[in-house]
Amino acid sequence: MDFALTEEHEMVRKMVHDFAQKEVRPTIKEWDIKHAMDPQVLPRMGELGILGICIPVRYGGQGMDYISLGLACEELEAVDTTLRVVMSVHMGLNSMALLQWGTEDQKQRFLVPQAKGEKIAAFGLTEPGAGSDVAGMHSTAKRDGEEYVINGEKMWISLATKADHFLWVAVTDPGADDPHEGMTAFVVEADRDGVTSGDIHDKMGVRAGSTGWVNCQDVRIPVANRLGEEGEGFKIAMSCLDNGRYTVAAGATGLIRACLEASVKYANERTTFGKAISRHQLVQQKIARMVQDYEAARLLYLRAGWMKNKGARNTRETSLAKWYATDASFEAAAEAVQVHGAYGYSAEFDVERYLRNSKGAVIYEGTSEIHTLIQAGYALGMRTNADLRCELPAYAPDVWQAEPETAAAS
Amino acid sequence: MAGNTVVYIDHVQGKAPPAAWEAVGAGLALKDEFGGSLKAIVVGQGVEALAAQALACGVDEALFGEDERLMDFRPEAYASALSGQLGDADVVLFSDSVRTRDLAGMLAVDLDTGVVSDVTALEITAGQLFASRPIYAGKLISKVHAVDARPLLITLRSRAFGAPAASGSGQPTRIDVDPGDPPTRVIELKPSEGGVSLSDAAVVVSGGRGTSNNPSLVPPSDMTDEKDIEIWRAHQGFKLVQDLAAVLGGAVGASRAAVDAGYIPYSHQVGQTGKVVSPDLYIAAGISGAIQHLAGMRTAKTIVAINTDPDAPIFKLARFGVVQDLYKILPPLTEALRQRLGT
């Protein structure tokens, strides 16, 4: 077993680290206070290829592997969670689903511009009345000739007002015996008639991001926009979450690291009772716990990335990584605030932003409670992985880095 | 150890910066302690007066060489002009500047000898000259000596050595020099804003991020952009910094945070990626004291820190500290010093 990152991985990590630290970090607190997204973020991440990092070159991407995606997410969230949320929805929940389930036509129409950063992608699953209970959703898609008519509202959608393409899950068969088999996935372009969206403000955290609602009122899309088969929507959505959750796990690991670094720095500078607070044992305990959580979270997400590289089904391992890292990041952030004392409570330092940001991750992409049940299910034999008609492709460097074949004569 | 020391008088078109005389002072100190001779040398156009001034400082001999082609400083030409003149020197001192580093570097090639730049201390131990210089952004000091190399060329950091008191006389000696044709052509010089050069200043007053922190000031009514307002606030703060600097005859510096925020041009930045300064007095107003900044000013003789945060790291390095808003303390401080100094 080789636990070392390759030279390539190290360079990827450093590149994303440098971008986030130099270009986003200096002003992120101000955007957070404004409850607005820095307009530079999406274009820069597109220009630098981060928005297509693990998509094959022939589909407009950078041809790096899934571990690179994880490393990038760790570095992005170490600066602010909102950067990683971009990757979670654009790459994890949408682009990777196209890679896994899309037809060649859909890959060309949607995945290529997304990977190039020319179009922004998002994920429409959650509704005002349906979060953990996905099958309880109300959005519908009615077949009408060569089109589907989409109706419904999705809520808590990251990049709702910024995205060009939504991966939208709706009920196609309301009368299905098992509602899990009555849903279908679609690609809905934001500029279609009947699509409206708006921002949701005043969230506890990820304020420098974009979260909102998207509403479809009799939106007509061609059958060619249907992802997978009718009735596969739930399975597709769950496979999307396998990828979204991976980015969340990696990102939360970065957040633990940010809490750790801030706490170590502060603890070495601040003095009480005649010595640096880093010399007080109860402060040391908090820092030691952050180290423990960081290292464990990191190994868990890297393992999941390694499995994705191999083309191995990783639902259980990714769920475990997400659950562990997000719970741990919430605790690490709370303890980081504590280490900073009153200063931690003030926006002058970053740790209160880390705490507010961390709370979202234990709710989205599967609440910690859902993951608890998932893990118990696997352990107790009550849950197994159903076969999927399409699997996330294993990483193959030569195939992924091959340039697109140019048309013979054009 | 008695040796022959030569000191080169650095200049731009016949005008020498204060540091040039510090190099003479260093040469005199070496001669005082260890004997030997001290010769000054200068090449350029219109530089006889510099040679005369060196004699007035107390050097034994002052040589000057002139040539039209030396009007603008070009390292290749100056090195060619000088390299034949240094044969009997054991040590050649230069004040450190962009010019002299290039010059000394090239002379070292011509003379196949050693060169040490940015030196802050000289000492002789067991007959060998050691030049101390900061490395790793001033976190460490290395002591350098020549290895089978004569003369040892040394550039001396500004303000690390004292300028001499005038105490000599004599006539400068003209020498013939052949600079060759310079391989580069100066087309023009676009002068920068005037004022005391940060590197040479005896007093530096610096402002940091705290300069924009005065919420009670009302910006002009037509200003609506928040960034513009923040910069306007910072300019008000830097006016106070500039007033104090003016009273003290000093230069205005800035922390990297202030420069990055657009409060003041980069030419004022003091720190690891800005200028390294070594003034007699460094007053830091509204600067927290990040390591990068400290690297630029830690060798100042006296540091005064003004900051509303009593835990700011800068207080650890300061000789005097004032926990006070710079807006409240700078104006009365400027006035109090103006009265006492009569400036």
Binding site: L48 | I141, E335
Partner: protein
């Protein structure tokens, strides 16, 4: 155009450096491409993008310096060469310049040789001037802007950032150029660049490969390195009932202590 950029690998500037057993130690901190050299690499790449050609990055250092060269390759340099030889372990700036010059002479004759302003470790700021002198090529140092490069006419016009202002200077090609950070904003390595760099084979040239009979001798040595003892200045806090009182007190103290 044939372009060469000379780079160095240095410890990260954020590293805590200490002296251990007379040697500088930076602990676990990574070794990086000297930050000042990134500007030189960027300028080399921009020159190639404007005029066509080939960029070769060279470095004198130990085997680990290949990582810094890989960064240069990942940014977009076409080729990289490491110069390494145990006999060069104690090379000073002159020996380094002589070695770099020998390496340059073995390459296709370059039109431009770029350097950064200084290395963040030893920071002698001498190597580029010395390399130019050894090669007998004009030196353009402290370059903050390149106004014009005329490859056919064989000339370059630059602006040098000097304390007294910006000096506009022209020189014929080939020339040695050292750049300051005002000149550009270095690019991040692209992912494609990273892939190419990690696969790249970087040849190592030793003294023999450079065509030199023996390693040039260093003319200076630095056997002693020590950390600056942090003078624990006890800071005298100036107190006062009002800002006016504090100001008066501070002014008095400064005069008493003969600071002014």
């Amino acid at each position: 155009m044939n372009i060469v950029v000379c780079v160095k690998q240095t410890p990260d500037t954020a590293a805590t450096v200490t002296v251990e057993g007379g040697q500088v130690s930076w602990g676990d901190s990574p070794l990086v491409l000297n930050p000042w050299d990134e500007y030189a690499v960027e300028q080399a790449l921009r020159t190639k993008e404007a005029h066509g050609g080939h960029v070769t990055a060279i470095s004198l250092g130990p085997e680990s310096a290949k990582d810094a060269l890989k960064q240069a390759l990942a940014m977009g340099c076409d080729e990289a060469i490491l110069i390494s030889d145990p006999a060069l372990a104690a090379a000073d700036s002159l020996a380094t310049a002589q070695v770099l010059a020998s390496a340059v002479r073995k390459l296709d004759p370059p039109d431009l040789i770029f350097f950064g302003k200084a290395s963040v470790d030893s920071a002698s700021g001498l190597t580029f001037a010395q390399t130019a002198r050894v090669l007998g090529r004009p030196l353009l140092s402290q370059v903050a802007a390149v106004n014009l490069v005329d490859p056919d006419g064989g000339s370059i016009s630059v602006e040098r950032l000097l304390p007294e202002g910006r000096e506009v200077v022209e020189a014929g090609l080939p020339a040695v150029v050292s750049v300051t950070k005002e000149i550009n904003e270095p690019r991040y390595p692209s992912f494609m660049g990273i892939r190419k760099a990690s696969k790249a084979e970087i040849p190592t040239w030793d003294i023999g490969a450079l065509g030199m009979d023996s390693a040039p001798k260093a003319k200076v040595a630095w056997p002693e390195i020590f950390a600056i003892a942090l003078e624990s200045t006890s800071c005298e806090m100036i107190e006062g009932e009002t800002p006016d009182a504090m100001a008066a007190k501070l002014a008095d103290r400064l005069l008493e202590e003969k600071v002014l």
